[in-house]
């Protein structure tokens, strides 16, 4: 047992904000419905993995070609190569949006060509960069045919209930990410009648909790969505959008954001704007990009997330 395992009382309400840009990643688990930090990646790898393992990939921004990354497709390819080399094959992958940079068909084509090399089922939710075509139809045609509305849906795997939400359409002036009434009603109905012991994983592009409203990093009606999940013992919220690892634990809800595979963005307030960090030395870029590996262990009710950078 790590020392963190004995720290329930302290960690229960502890807010974890980990900027592991250079480190090898952070693992945290959900035990008995209470998420807490366990330690760093080395510790995570030492544990025997059973149950469900899946991957999170995010913010590919295929088509981005400006500093600090002239080749976002190339770094996506590197991430996929890393996925294919994993010792334990994941059950599937989720992509938390901004697949493309400008919603061009060629960008979606390129992304699909690379991501399909994993030969994994990929469950997508869109980012705001995936709805930039004039008719806002390319994303839905490719990834959202079986989904509701702009692309929300749920599915079950190994006893875990997964919910993919869309918070990047119908954005209001001055506001943050937005789920909207129709989607909230669907969510409430979707979880109704499910046992409170069902582990829930919610994934969406923009963080569902308020990270930094000055930069639009949050979801206007995210708290409403989370209120429907309060009775569940284990809720994990996986997001992208902010291109850095950030974590927070609140009651039974664990929040986590993943790195981008394309470019890093600054810590909240650390720069004049949330634009790409341009002055990243070439040899450091890959320590700021990466993927997340998520494991749910049956019987232990544990969900562990390992953020793995491309290098470093």
């Amino acid at each position: 047992m790590s020392e963190f395992d004995r720290d329930d009382g302290i960690n229960r309400r502890k807010v974890l904000e980990c900027m592991t840009w250079v480190g090898t990643g952070v693992l945290w688990t959900v035990s008995g419905g209470v998420p807490r930090s366990l330690g760093i990646m080395g510790e995570a790898q030492a544990q025997e993995v059973k149950g469900l393992t899946f991957l999170q990939i995010s913010d590919s921004h295929v088509g981005f070609h400006l500093p600090p990354n002239a080749d976002a497709l190339g770094t996506l390819q590197e991430c996929v190569t890393k996925v294919n080399a994993l010792p334990i094959k994941p059950a599937f992958m989720i992509h938390t949006g901004d697949i493309s940079h400008l919603s061009l068909e060629a960008q979606f084509d390129d992304a699909d060509r690379i991501i399909s090399q994993t030969r994994l089922d990929v469950h997508y939710v869109p980012g705001e960069h995936d709805f930039l075509d004039p008719d806002q139809k390319f994303y839905r045609e490719r990834y959202g045919k079986a989904a509701k509305g702009a692309g929300w849906y749920s599915f079950d795997a190994n006893g875990v209930h997964f919910i993919g939400l869309v918070n990047v359409v119908d954005l209001k002036a001055g506001g943050l990410g937005n789920l909207g009434t129709e989607q909230l009603e669907w969510l409430e109905a979707d979880v109704k009648g499910r046992s409170a012991s069902t582990p829930i994983v919610v994934f969406a592009h923009i963080p569902l909790w308020t990270v930094y409203p000055e930069w639009g990093w949050g979801t206007e009606d995210g708290a409403q969505a989370l209120s429907y999940l309060k009775r569940f013992g284990s809720v994990t919220v996986l997001n992208g959008h902010i291109h850095q690892v950030m974590q927070k634990v609140e009651g039974n809800v664990a929040f986590h954001t993943a790195r981008s595979t394309a470019f890093p963005q600054p810590a909240p307030g650390a720069a004049p704007s949330p634009g790409p960090i341009k002055d990243v030395p070439a040899d450091k870029l890959r320590t700021m990009l990466g993927i997340a590996n998520v494991t749910f262990k049956q019987n232990e009710q544990r969900l562990a997330i390992i953020d793995t950078p491309l290098a470093g």
Partner: protein, 122 residues
């Protein structure tokens, strides 16, 4: 070749406008105001213009933006990639709130005043 063709077209436009309503009208119809999009901010955030003025937004960021008016009060831009721009000519007086439809926390305002004197040709 291309450059001279454009210059000729512009010259034609100026002469044509001048003939139609005098030099002051020409100035009003050709009035332009620039708004820069830089660091996820519209600068200036508020502009006050006379009716007939063309506003041009230029994206200086490394991230795409888009212009949309609250209540669709004026036409939405297509996505503006780095160095792209969008122009709209405001002919009706009023206050127009707008925002970036990609990053809605970015907001701005256009105040359009009635053109006066010889400028009220629209």
């Amino acid at each position: 070749m291309m450059r001279s063709a454009v210059a000729a077209a512009m010259l034609g436009a100026v002469i044509g406008t001048g003939l139609a309503g005098g030099i002051i009208v020409a100035r009003a119809q050709n009035a332009t105001t620039a708004i820069s999009i830089d660091n996820f901010t519209f600068t200036p955030a508020t502009v006050t213009i006379k009716a007939g003025t063309t506003v041009t937004w230029s994206n200086k960021d490394d991230i795409p933006h888009g212009i949309a008016a609250t209540g669709n009060a004026f036409a939405k831009s297509k996505t503006l990639d780095t160095d792209d721009s969008y122009s709209f000519t405001f002919t009706t007086p009023g206050t127009y709130q707008y925002f970036c439809y990609v990053h809605p926390h970015m907001t701005g305002k256009i105040v359009v005043e009635a053109a006066t004197g010889e400028n009220t040709t629209r």
